[in-house]
Symmetry: C2
Subunit: 101 residues, 2 copies
């Protein structure tokens, strides 16, 4: 029996908010916390928790700094994060193709 | 700002094991418990819990019966289940298209 596409999914990346964070981070050099919060319609606390999980796993890195006088937080995706996201996307592509066939 | 595709995902359906159960159930008239357990590489207890969540939400129906003398459990997807899965697949398709572009 060939493997079902969902067995290739990892909750670390598949969880919908983390998937949102990673897909946005993959599109840009770095992304600001407030932009992620608004785009993904999350509370700051919820977003912080998901970023911490991804940082702990080495998929994201967090930078703290200033935009003028305002403290800001940015995140950027790591090479491991890009690989994990590419694997998730391959599994999703297979799942959608199977569903559409 | 247009909505990010992950905001259209619902954990009820998006959770990877429940997504597996629903995609398989959508392909056939009904599916037997043991087949789901093996295909999705789940323990019986874990599979039972996810089926209960989907049944409670009205996305699956469970039938108990016999195959010869052996008690068997089958599940089948409901019209609500098909709609929920179609919405999930539309969001995933948008996400993959955005990632690939």
């Amino acid at each position: 029996m060939s493997e079902h596409p969902t067995t290739g999914l990892d909750e670390l990346v598949h969880q919908r908010h983390r998937l949102g964070i990673l897909t946005i981070a993959a599109e840009v050099k770095r992304v600001e916390f407030g932009y992620l919060r608004e785009t993904l319609e999350l509370t700051g606390g919820n977003l912080s928790r998901h970023i911490a999980v991804l940082e702990e796993a080495g998929l994201l890195e967090v930078e703290k700094g200033y935009d003028g006088k305002r403290p800001k937080t940015w995140v950027h995706i790591t090479p491991s994060g890009r690989r994990a996201l590419a694997e998730e996307m391959a599994a999703l592509r297979a799942l959608v193709a199977r569903h559409d066939s």
